[in-house]
Symmetry: C2
Subunit: 381 residues, 2 copies
C-alpha cells in the first residue's frame, strides 16, 4: 500500500440557505480543492451526500458533479454511510490512491438541506422496519441516549452545555462557520428550548448547506502539488449492532472504539499522541460518548472533560476546533470533509486564532446514524 497525502483543500462557507444549487456547491468545492493543489485534472471523484435523493430528487451525484466541474471522463462514484458519507468519500479516495489505481483523487462532501424538509429523510439512517416504523427518529434516539446517560452517571442537568459552548466559541474564529458571529453563553445553551426531552436546542447541530473537498495524492509526490501536504496516517471503518436496542451497552459506542483502535494501530500512534480531536458532535451526547469510547475519558466521565474546559483550544484535548458540527454547521454529507479540511489547516499552522499549539496528529471521527457506522481518520505532519 502506498502512503497517501492530502495536497489540496476547498471549502465553502456553511450557510442556512445557500444561493448556490447542490451541483454548484459540489463543483465549486471540487474546483477550489483542485486549484489549491494546482491541478486541472484528477483521476477520480468520490462524492459523499445523504439527502439529494429526497431534497433534490437527484441520485447519481458524483457523475453529475464531475460533469459540472468540467471533469468529463473521470471515474466518479457515490459513497454513503448516511451521516458519515463524507468520511466514506475520503476513505474511498484514500483506497483508490493507496492501491495505485488513481494518482489524484478528490473526496467531496456536499449537502443542501434548505431545499426541502430534511428530518423524515434523515431518519432513514435508522432501521425502517424496526425503529422508524415504531416512531423512532434520529433525534429521539439521541434523546434516549442522553436520558440514559443522565440516569446512569448522575451527571448534573447542564453537563452537556459545555460542548456547545466550546463549539460556538471556536466557530467565532472560523469565517466558514454557520454561527461565526454568534455568542453563546453557558446560560443561553442551558436554557435553550427543549427539542425532545432531555435534548435541548443547543445539544443539536443545525440544518444547513455546505460543501468541502480534498485532493489526495501519493505521499511521495505530495510536494509537487503542495507546500504543506498532510499525511493520511490511518483510515478505518467499523460498524456496531445496527439498532441501539440490540447493543449490550447503548452508552458504549463500539463502532467508535473499534474504528479508533484500528486507526491507532494502522497509524502506529497512541491515544496520547493526538493533538486534537474532531468529534462528531451532531448531538452533544455523541461527542461525550466518543470521548469515552476512544478512551480519552472513563465511562461516565466524558462530560467532565467539557465542563472542566479540557476540550478548549488550550486544553489537554482540543475538540471541534473550528466549531464542530454544532457551530460550524452540519450539512450532513459534507461535515466529515469539513472536519478533514479543518484538520489540515490545524496541522499546517493555518488555523488562525484557533491554532492548536504544536499540532502534529489529528484524530477525526464521523458517525453514521445512531453510531451504527463510525469512520475514523488520523492525519499527521
Amino acid at each position: 500500500m502506498r502512503p497517501v497525502s492530502i495536497v489540496g483543500i476547498g471549502q465553502l462557507p456553511v450557510e442556512a440557505a445557500s444561493a448556490r444549487s447542490l451541483r454548484d456547491l459540489g463543483a465549486t468545492a471540487v474546483r477550489l480543492a483542485m486549484t489549491d493543489a494546482g491541478v486541472e485534472r484528477v483521476d477520480a471523484l468520490f462524492c459523499g451526500n445523504m439527502l439529494s435523493d429526497e431534497l433534490q430528487g437527484q441520485k447519481h451525484l458524483a457523475a453529475l458533479i464531475a460533469d459540472e466541474a468540467g471533469l468529463r471522463g473521470i471515474e466518479a462514484l457515490d459513497v454513503g454511510a448516511v451521516t458519515a458519507s463524507g468520511a466514506g468519500a475520503v476513505r474511498m479516495a484514500f483506497l483508490s490512491v493507496a492501491s495505485g489505481q488513481a494518482d489524484l483523487a478528490v473526496a467531496l462532501g456536499v449537502e443542501k438541506m434548505s431545499d426541502g424538509v430534511a428530518m423524515p429523510a434523515i431518519s432513514k439512517a435508522l432501521d425502517a422496519d424496526r425503529e422508524v416504523a415504531h416512531g423512532a427518529t434520529m433525534i429521539s434516539r439521541n434523546a434516549e441516549l442522553l436520558a440514559l446517560y443522565f440516569e446512569r452517571t448522575r451527571a448534573p442537568a447542564h453537563a452537556m452545555v459545555w460542548f456547545a459552548v466550546n463549539a460556538h466559541k471556536n466557530a467565532r474564529n472560523n469565517p466558514y462557520a454557520l454561527f461565526h458571529k454568534m455568542r453563546v453563553s453557558p446560560r443561553k445553551a442551558a436554557t435553550s428550548r427543549i427539542v425532545h426531552a432531555p435534548l435541548r436546542l443547543y445539544d443539536c447541530a443545525p440544518i444547513c448547506d455546505g460543501a468541502a473537498a480534498v485532493v489526495l495524492a501519493p505521499a511521495e509526490q505530495a510536494r509537487a502539488f503542495s507546500d504543506h501536504p498532510v499525511r493520511i496516517l490511518a483510515s478505518a471503518v467499523a460498524t456496531d449492532r445496527f439498532r441501539v436496542d440490540d447493543r449490550a451497552d447503548p452508552l458504549l459506542l463500539e463502532g467508535s472504539q473499534l474504528s479508533a483502535h484500528k486507526a491507532f494501530r494502522q497509524a502506529n500512534v497512541h491515544r496520547g499522541d493526538v493533538s486534537f480531536f474532531e468529534a462528531h458532535d451532531a448531538f452533544s451526547i455523541m461527542a461525550c460518548l466518543q470521548l469515552e469510547a476512544v478512551g480519552f475519558a472513563a465511562p461516565g466521565q466524558g462530560w467532565r472533560m467539557a465542563a472542566e474546559r479540557r476540550i478548549g483550544i488550550r486544553g489537554t484535548l482540543p475538540i471541534c476546533t473550528m466549531g464542530g458540527l454544532k457551530a460550524r454547521g452540519h450539512p450532513i454529507g459534507a461535515s466529515a470533509v469539513y472536519q478533514v479540511v479543518e484538520s489540515v489547516l490545524q496541522l499546517t499552522g493555518r488555523a488562525g486564532k484557533n491554532q492548536v499549539r504544536a499540532a502534529k496528529v489529528a484524530l477525526i471521527q464521523s458517525i453514521g446514524g445512531a453510531a451504527s457506522t463510525v469512520i475514523t481518520h488520523i492525519l499527521g505532519v
Copy 2:
C-alpha cells in the same frame, strides 16, 4: 497494488416478487458467498443498491445488512452509481483488497423492486433539473436513442429483436433467471407491445427482486479459499457528459469506450482475447451501442452481430450468456454482481448447457443512468 481474486460467489433466484425482505435478500447472498469461500468472517462489505431509499424507506443498507448477516464490527459502506451500483460495490471491494486494507471483502448487489412503484425513483438517475423536470425518464431517453439509431443507420425495424431472443434463449438454462421457463420467438419479441415508441416491451429488462455477492481475496492466497478462483484482471470506471443532450454524438457511449480501454490496458489483454461479454442490456439499444463503443462492431453495425447470431453461446462473441439483464432479470443494484457471478461460473467451467468453450477472459460492463457512468471489469483464469 496486489492482485485480487474472486474466491466465493452467491446468488439468489431472481423473482418478480421475492418472499424475502430486502435485508434478508442481501444477508442471504452475503452468507452464500462466504460459505462458498469457506469463511465465517470478512473485513469489509460494500453494498450496491439503487432504490431502497424510496421503496423501503431505508438508507444505510451496508451497515444494516452487515448486522443482519452476523458481521458486527466489520467495515460496511454503501456504494452507488445508480443502475451500475453493484459494479461500484465490486470496484470498492477490489480497491480495498488491492490496497492491502482488507484481506477479505464482500461486494453485494441487492434490490427489491416489488415493494413499491420503482419507475419515478429510477428516473433520479437522470438530471433532475434539466431532464426529469422536462419530462424525461430512463425509458424515454432510451427510446430517443433507439429512434436516432434507426434514423441514422437505416437498420430494419426488427433489428433489435435478436438481443432479446439471445438473452431469453440463454436464460432457459439458468435456474436463477427470472424468465428461465419462458420461450421467446423472434416474432413474439418483434410484435410485443410498444412501451414508448419505438421501444417495445422486449427491448426492456423487467422489474424484479434479487441479490448476488462475491468474496474477494488477495490472488496469492486465493487457493486457500477456493479450488477455482478467478482473477480480477481489471476494474475501471469512466463517466461521460452527464446528459445525453450534451454529447457530441449521443450514439457513441464514451463512458463504455473509455472504461473498456482503461480496463484492456490494465489487464494487458486485447479486445480479441475476450471470450464472452456480459453487456448491460437493460435496453437492447444499450447492448447494441456497447458492442460498437467497445469496438466489437463498427458504428451502426452492432445490431448485425445480433441478427447474424454472432452473439450466441457458439458465436464469435457470446453476450449475456446466462440471460443478461433482459431475461435473467434486472434487479437494478444487484445486476452487475449477477454478471460477475455468472462470469465466474463461465470461467470455471460451471455454466452448464450455456458453457462458452475455452472461456478464459470475461468482459463485463455495467451502465449507470443513460451511460453517464460505465464500469468495466475484466476477469480471467
